[in-house]
């Protein structure tokens, strides 16, 4: 369990962390999600002790570590750019934390071999970091951090320097690893898909403040505000309300659309729009629309629905939200 209590950090008059309070349950995999410059790294580095807070406290596993040096916090930290010890072999990298603690050789050997096996790097003991791929280097860095049995594992955009395919693989792998080792893990990312994919809790940061904390489903379906809604997935503005594109239904018939819309409590109503473009994205079809008010938005439908509608560019359709604020899926404050 990590508690951040009223954390503040300023650079000049700029508040990188503005009264952040956050509980990270023991054994969870929590993602800190937010746009660039929102203070994610600052928060993570403050938990690690690599950054000093101007105010507030950090408590790790019941111990107040505010002001404690990073060496003594019982953390493991993984950096975006690996921070490998380039002059040491993979084995020596992973063993580093144990070697400086002067653990018996046999114990170090056993532990390092175990860890290398867990991260899928056995057989790579004697290579140098430069002889590994990016993904392998990051797994080595992870093994190195885990070697000292940290209380918490802190990862700052660990897959940020890797290409999309490797990134997706590795985050799945991280999820499985977490399920195996259960160490309390905090993962910083600016990629909402990554957060939704691996985390069991997500804290959304914006401008040094926490916007919302919750499990991925809650955050996606019941965003606390406009910012969280937009940040967690694409949104369309329909008659003043924010709606996910896949929650928009299209109809050629105005009466039928109105009848369906009446069943959705507090919906923004039926909007008349002109089809600007129909884009097929595999199974999904995105339909770019322009409302008579001139605002543009997109609806996302399945291929079957699109075929049934048979829309062509320039046609007029009637769009409506399939879920309303009464279903708590459109943020109440935003629905008009």
């Amino acid at each position: 369990m990590i508690s951040v209590i009223g954390a503040r950090r300023s650079y000049g008059d700029f508040a990188a962390l503005d009264d952040v309070t956050l509980d990270i349950p023991a054994g969870s995999l929590t993602a800190l999600l937010g746009p660039s410059g929102s203070g994610k790294s600052t928060l993570l580095r403050s938990i690690a002790g690599l950054e000093q807070l101007d105010g507030g406290r950090i408590v790790i596993a019941g111990r107040d570590v505010t002001g404690v040096a990073p060496q003594k916090r019982g953390i493991g930290f993984v950096f975006q750019h690996y921070a490998a010890f380039k002059h040491m072999t993979v084995r020596d990298n992973v063993a580093f934390g144990l070697t400086i603690r002067k653990r018996p050789k046999a114990e170090i050997s056993r532990k390092v071999d175990d860890l290398l096996e867990i991260v899928g790097l056995d057989g790579f003991q004697h290579r140098y970091p430069a002889q590994l791929s990016g993904g392998q280097r990051q797994r080595m860095a992870l093994a190195r951090a885990l070697a000292v049995d940290p209380e918490v594992l802190l990862l700052d955009e660990p897959f940020g320097a890797l290409d999309a395919k490797v990134r997706a693989d590795l985050r799945q792998w991280l999820r499985r690893l977490h399920d195996e080792v259960h160490v309390t893990t905090v993962l910083v990312t600016h990629d909402q898909e990554e957060a939704l994919d691996v985390a069991d809790r997500i804290a959304v940061l914006n401008k040094g403040r926490i916007e919302q904390v919750g499990d991925p489903v809650t955050l996606y379906d019941r965003p606390a505000n406009d910012f969280v809604m937009s940040f967690l997935g694409s949104v369309a503005r329909l008659g003043g309300a924010l709606v996910r594109p896949h929650d928009i239904a299209l109809d050629r018939d105005l009466e039928r659309a109105r009848a369906a819309d009446a069943r959705v409590g507090g919906s923004p109503g039926v909007i008349e729009a002109v089809v600007e473009r129909v884009v097929r994205l595999g199974f999904e079809v995105r339909i770019d629309l322009r409302a008579d008010s001139g605002t543009r938005f997109a609806a996302q439908v399945t291929r079957a629905e699109a075929d049934a509608l048979g829309l062509v560019e320039g046609e007029t359709v009637y769009a409506r939200a399939t879920t309303g604020p009464d279903a708590a899926e459109i943020h109440p404050a935003l629905a008009i």
Binding site: F77, Y82, K86, H87, F124, G134, V148
Partner: protein, 307 residues
């Protein structure tokens, strides 16, 4: 298990400075068979090559090789025996011993102090840092005889601080340390600037104290730069003349360095003695620089291997 084949590689095997320190080539374990073969060292080819090589060869010949050959020939004017006799004359031998000893001490002092100075200049902030940074090169820019005068006025017979180093070996040390100051500083500084701070933070997060981090993580990265700077300082120190001329006192067997002995032999018209000692100095400098090259080449190769 994820196998990653395709990856974005960060340019983290970049600067020469980050080159790895030499280490015995470790026998590779299980992973050896999948180790990428060392690529042939890249070699630029093109029409310019024969011309370039020719020009470089000519230039080096005229400036370096021919004069050195001439010197060597002169030194052998009375055969190997004559050469040996000239070199093993007690005063000659003493001057060589003093030179190498003082230069070695100066080199070691430089290695430590130069690294420290570079560290402070890169990592610490203090008022007047820019000025201090500019000062480092001054001993190099100054005519060395000026250095000698400066030191003499401070540490000479009329020392305002009552430290008299005139005509002593410590005097030689100070003079040589003065003129060789920039070598280590200037070779370590750029490497230190490029050092990835996150690596140190990683070490700290693993529990390493600042000193352990420095010794086990930072120093190995700096080592090639420290060693090459130290080597240059040593080479410079064994050949130094101007800065020791006044403060050294030129006392045979005590503070007379090889370059002063050579000068003296020329003055008393013994060109063979002068040439012979010169050749020895030359050999020492060459071996030092060659070993350094070898060393640099090895770390470079290691990096290439690693690509």
């Amino acid at each position: 298990m994820t196998t990653t084949t395709n990856h974005a590689r960060r340019g983290d095997t970049s600067t020469e400075g980050s080159s790895l320190p030499p280490r015995p080539h470790l026998p590779l374990g299980d992973g050896a068979d999948s180790l990428p073969a060392a690529p042939p060292s890249s070699r630029r080819t093109g029409v310019a090559r024969p011309l370039g090589v020719g020009l470089v060869g000519l230039w080096l010949s005229v400036l370096v090789l021919l004069p050195l050959a001439a010197l060597t020939v002169t030194s052998l004017g009375e055969g190997i025996g004559g050469f040996w006799h000239a070199v093993s004359a007690p005063v000659a031998l003493a001057s060589l011993r003093v030179t190498v000893l003082v230069a070695a001490i100066v080199a070691v002092v430089n290695a430590v102090m130069g690294t420290l100075i570079a560290w402070v200049l890169v990592r610490d902030d203090f008022p007047g840092k820019r000025i201090v940074n500019a000062l480092i090169d001054l001993p190099f820019a100054l005519p060395t005889i000026v250095a000698s005068i400066v030191l003499l006025s401070l540490y000479g017979p009329n020392s305002p601080i009552h430290i008299h180093l005139n005509a002593t070996q410590p005097g030689l040390l100070v003079a040589l340390a003065f003129v060789t100051l920039p070598f280590v500083v200037r070779s370590v500084q750029p490497v230190l600037i490029e050092v990835d701070r996150e690596v140190e933070e990683a070490a700290a997060s693993l529990g390493a104290s600042n000193w352990t981090t420095f010794r086990r993580v930072v120093l190995p990265t700096l080592a090639p730069a420290v060693i090459s700077g130290t080597g240059l300082a040593f080479a410079r120190a064994i050949g130094e003349y101007g800065s020791v001329v006044l403060i050294g006192g030129n006392i045979p067997r005590k503070t007379q360095v090889a370059s002063q002995y050579i000068q003296q032999q020329i003055e008393i018209d013994r060109p063979l003695n002068a040439a012979a000692v010169s050749v020895v100095l030359l050999a020492i400098a060459f071996v030092t620089l060659f070993v350094l090259r070898l060393f640099a080449g090895r770390s470079l190769r290691r990096e290439e291997d690693a690509q």
